[in-house]
């Protein structure tokens, strides 16, 4: 059965700040969902709620019907996570890092070899993390996230700081996982990248601005690229919290 992800009226507050506000989402079958939006729009908070690392203030997030904060070990075996931070051990080699996460998921050396080949780091497997370029560090982190061949893969800004060639190569990898049946959730603030996703969730200040396919966005905004589509959606959207509309401003004068 393909994995499913759902959020219902998901809300998360940090003190007086509302990071997510009424997010409804339903994902099934193998697909890539891009989570896009400016810094502070709630992308990482959404992923952390879906992983069970943050408890919702209200509403619910579920993986295969189970609330994410109550996921059992058996559920967690099917989930992979690449955080925004490098989140690997600098004093270990590439292979030791990947092998450590492999052992947490109970998979062996074959899986480590496959993951290293997937991220094209087999020839640098014995290098320490401190000796690697930023791109290689990100690829090691990706290998740690998918070494156990997860059905659901969460990638938080996986391509930040990478050159275009490497970004393209990583996206090819994500699509390959999707073609193998995985559900891939990728956050990014590079709007140009989200055209590679099957569907895109645009967030603004914790609210869903729109959810559609890249082609759907271009059609309905009559624009040529997703950056322009996002700007058009922003113009047509109701004002964000604490933001008065230009019309209202005129009236008050």
């Amino acid at each position: 059965m393909p994995p499913t992800l759902r959020t219902t009226d998901l809300r998360r507050e940090f003190g007086s700040i509302t990071a997510l506000d009424g997010v409804d989402l339903s994902l099934g079958d193998g697909e890539i969902l891009g989570v896009a939006g400016p810094n502070g729009s709630g992308k990482t908070t959404l992923i952390r709620c879906l992983l069970g690392l943050l408890r919702p203030t209200a509403g619910e997030a579920t993986v295969d019907g189970t609330p994410t904060e109550a996921l059992a070990a058996a559920d967690r075996r099917h989930i992979g996570y690449m955080p925004q931070a490098r989140a690997i051990y600098d004093d270990l080699t590439v292979r030791e890092n990947v092998a450590f996460f492999a052992s947490l998921y109970g998979v062996g050396d074959d899986a480590v070899d496959r993951a290293l080949s997937f991220v094209d780091l087999a020839d640098r497997a014995s290098a320490r993390i401190g000796e690697l370029s930023g791109g290689m560090v990100r690829r090691t982190s990706l290998a740690c996230a998918l070494v156990h061949d997860p059905e659901i893969l969460f990638l938080d800004e996986p391509t930040v700081g990478l050159d275009p060639k490497l970004r393209a190569s990583m996206w090819d990898g994500f699509r390959q996982r999707r073609n193998d049946g995985a559900l891939v959730v990728v956050s990014t603030h590079y709007l140009g990248e989200v055209s590679r996703c099957d569907r895109v969730l645009f967030l603004r200040e914790g609210r869903v601005l729109a959810l559609d396919s890249p082609e759907g966005f271009l059609d309905r905004t009559d624009t040529r690229d997703l950056e322009m589509a996002f700007l058009a959606l922003l113009e047509n959207a109701p004002p964000a919290r604490g933001e008065s509309s230009p019309a209202g401003g005129e009236e008050s004068r």
Binding site: Q84, Y89, D91, F101
Partner: protein, 242 residues
């Protein structure tokens, strides 16, 4: 499910030991520093034997606390802890993994202290070397749990170091190092008895100089209680979801 409660402990312990292989400063802290401290003590005191048990108790507690608190804090701030908690590991497994990994280090440190105590301080261990290693490991386990718990209340390495004057220094001052606890004013006697270093020093005094076996057993029982309590508390305060 088999061994559910400690799922992930062995990979974590192995990871800690492999990480240290590439971390020469920490290795030096474990192997070189204890020997150097005991060497200095041997040079400063004409008769170091009477204070040897205090130094042997305090050094292992202090160094193990620093190693664990900083190690666990790094895990949190680097984002690896969160990543590990997303995996199928159990929280107790994570803590037990830390105990095993740093426990091996504490054992190595205890052996170094043993050799240094014999070489530089002329300590003879009235109740045998095996008992010395046992008490050192108990002290290390208590410090391990303390380090993990306190590191959860620190946001950076500097804050973890700031706990030293608050948590370690009072124990060293009151823990039967300079005066017997029974001679302290009443308002300090009870806090002193609630501190693990007090019982660690008492147990070590028996190991090095001999004395009342009943008091030794009591000190060991209290230390076991502290160690189990600290480990249980660490397992509880590490939360997957916040």
């Amino acid at each position: 499910m088999r061994r559910t409660w400690m799922r992930g402990a062995l990979p974590v312990a192995g990871r800690i030991l492999r990480t240290l292989r590439g971390d020469r400063r920490t290795l030096a802290l474990v192997v070189v520093v204890p020997a150097f401290v005991l060497y200095l003590l041997g040079e400063v005191f004409v008769r170091p034997d009477p204070v040897a048990h205090v130094v042997l108790a305090v050094v292992v507690f202090f160094l193990t606390y620093i190693l664990t608190a900083i190690g666990f804090l790094r895990e949190r701030t680097a984002g690896t802890l969160e990543r590990v908690l997303v995996s199928p590991i159990s929280r107790a497994g994570l803590v037990v993994g830390y105990l095993l990994g740093y426990g091996v280090l504490a054992f190595v440190q205890s052996v170094v202290l043993l050799l240094a105590a014999v070489s530089f301080l002329g300590v003879s261990f009235a109740n045998g070397v095996a008992l010395f290693l046992f008490v050192e490991m108990l002290g290390a386990l208590t410090a391990l749990g303390t380090g993990v718990v306190l590191s959860l209340f620190a946001d950076n390495e500097f804050q973890a170091i700031q706990f030293i004057p608050v948590v370690i220094t009072p124990q060293v001052l009151l823990g039967e190092t300079f005066r017997p606890v029974s001679e302290l004013p009443a308002h300090l006697e009870y806090p002193a008895l609630a501190m693990p270093v007090t019982h660690l020093v008492r147990a070590m005094e028996f190991v090095v100089h001999g004395g009342d076996a009943g008091e030794f057993r009591l000190a060991v029982a209290v230390l076991v209680g502290f160690a189990l309590g600290a480990v249980a508390l660490a397992s509880v305060v590490i939360r997957r979801a916040s």
